[in-house]
Symmetry: C2
């Protein structure tokens, strides 16, 4: 992207910091009445609230978290917003505001930053979130984005990681492993491109996988779906580092163990076929692939009837006593101890 | 610093991300009752409040905002906190929480990160602020810190940049230009060190300048001092980019002009002598030197008696009509138009 040599480019130095801030924020609208003051003073000002405030922050760095050779800047901006909103939704809250700080090296023209902010803006509009501040600066290498998201929930609504109880059901939204496989497809195409830049990749069989990697959606809807079902989760976390890793967080903080059933893991057909092609174990990918941004939660077993058969949710296991540990029950009915590994562990 | 080759070093890879977060956050205490949940869940949770919430964020990048050859990591951590708290105080608010995200390359051992967090912790303790979250990740080059500060103020207490009125007095806390000159001294010593590493610098004449550069203090006290004096500022901003630049922000947003008097600018004796030594104009340094982290504010002229003679404050000028522009009145009683230049402009 932005590689058309004939396109007019504007250097960031021409604009200066304040010019850049004005330029990129003028298309952002403030939608929440709680946003008293957004960009343009020493701090943003949010109105008093009877709800609790949720605050989360994430840092995305070029060469560590993303590769611009296949990640368009607009998608990067969108994803940077999603990653943070996902944490607010994983508290059973509503995201209302974000701040975005970026550092960019002088290899990026203004038009590249506009692309990035177009993605941030799309994320804000789609998820009804106000951009209220940030910082823009130069970097000595590459691009990085630091987003802080702020949300609201009543004290009664907030769901922590530490409330899972023995016999609770373990539930996940959506399906698992697709974003990790999308990354594998994109990495493979990058290698092919290096060898033969004229090769036109046929990615039709991987559209879902690639979309999950390049344009993930945060599960804003889960809190509402659960409210409709009159289910209050006992614990909740978003799946950013893989199901295993998130189960470890919940079990450690709740002082419980868990049993997860291999045949219950929700897999998209594209995940299954891509696993065959890449000779990867789909269960490993579902457990340890990252960046799904689905929600993992536990509910009392009494809510079984409310959750079962709901197309948004899969019951993947149940909570057991702490001394039983964390185990996967295989299709052959064998129990294997789960490891708290993130997605980097599949790669090696 | 941390250059003793005999010191035991711990690589960050040994600890892993969660190990690192546990390690660096275990010494941080939560002091505010408004901090319901700090580090350890998807988001931090802050209690409901009848006050407005103030949010600000800043990004500090090695090679752009600081040079580790003379900036000890502990000071860097402290300064990263100050820079953000200063923005909250410049809204006439009280800072209560911060999040800190860092990215570090593998050239830094754990002990270096401990130094950085020791400075962050000292800042948190001294200013009574809770560390409630953050992100730690690797970088491909150098170190960067992204801090978000959260504060509180009643709706009536918040002071914006846009309330300055004609005839208002323009006031600054403390003195100006010292941090900029401290940077000049440190840069000079760095060059000397390159030529002769055994040279022992004598910095006795520059202690105040260097302290202002390496260990700035945010003006937490100004809000309280003004409350005691029963003065409510009409506009307020912190001086991070130089007095001129901040006056432009206030005048632009308040739709007014200003007159600032050269002979009223508060200068420390070390600033005056260092300006002579470096052959710099002390007025230029006071107007355009950055990183003072003092507070600039305007008050109704009726409050003159309350402010005058107060050792914390200097009345440097007054607000005029917008069409009169922004001007400096020199010692020779000449009017010179102010330019909105930051400190980078003196360097060239």
């Amino acid at each position: 992207m932005l590689e058309d040599k004939n396109t007019q480019k504007t250097s960031l130095a021409e604009l200066g910091e304040f010019g850049l801030i004005n330029h990129i924020t003028k298309y952002f609208k403030i939608n929440h009445s709680s946003t008293v003051k957004g960009v343009g003073d020493d701090t943003a000002v949010l109105d008093a609230s009877e709800k609790q405030t949720l605050v989360t922050t994430d840092l995305l760095i070029e060469g560590v978290h993303f590769d611009l050779s296949y990640m368009p800047l607009k998608h990067l901006g969108y994803k940077a917003v999603m990653v943070n909103l996902s944490d607010v939704y994983a508290m059973n809250g509503v995201a209302e505001q974000i701040t975005v700080s970026i550092a960019v090296s002088n290899r990026f023209p203004l038009e590249a930053i506009e692309e990035l902010y177009a993605g941030i803006q799309l994320g804000c509009e789609t998820y009804n979130v106000d951009l209220i501040g940030g910082d823009t600066t130069s970097s000595t290498k590459g691009i990085l984005i630091s987003v802080t998201a702020i949300g609201k929930a009543t004290k009664e609504e907030v769901v922590y990681r530490n409330g899972a109880k023995e016999t609770d059901l373990i539930v996940v939204s959506g399906d698992l492993g697709a974003a990790y496989l999308g990354l594998q497809v994109l990495e493979r195409e990058k290698q092919v491109f290096k060898v033969d830049p004229n090769n036109q990749p046929d990615l039709d069989n991987y559209t879902y996988l690639i979309e999950r990697q390049l344009k993930p959606e945060a599960r804003k809807d889960v809190a509402g779906l659960l409210k409709e079902l009159e289910v209050k989760p006992t614990s909740m976390i978003d799946i950013s580092d893989g199901l295993s890793s998130e189960l470890f967080h919940i079990c450690t903080q709740s002082k419980v163990g868990c049993k997860v059933y291999e045949d219950k893991l929700p897999l998209d057909p594209q995940v299954i076929s891509a696993c065959e092609e890449f000779e990867l174990d789909s269960t490993m990918v579902a457990l340890s692939g990252g960046e799904d941004y689905e929600i993992l939660f536990t509910v009392p077993i009494a809510d079984f009837d409310k959750i079962k058969g709901n197309p948004n949710f899969s019951i993947v296991g149940h909570v057991v006593a702490e001394n039983q540990g964390l185990n996967l029950v295989t299709r052959a009915n064998q129990e294997i101890e789960l490891k708290a590994q993130g997605w980097s562990s599949i790669k090696g």
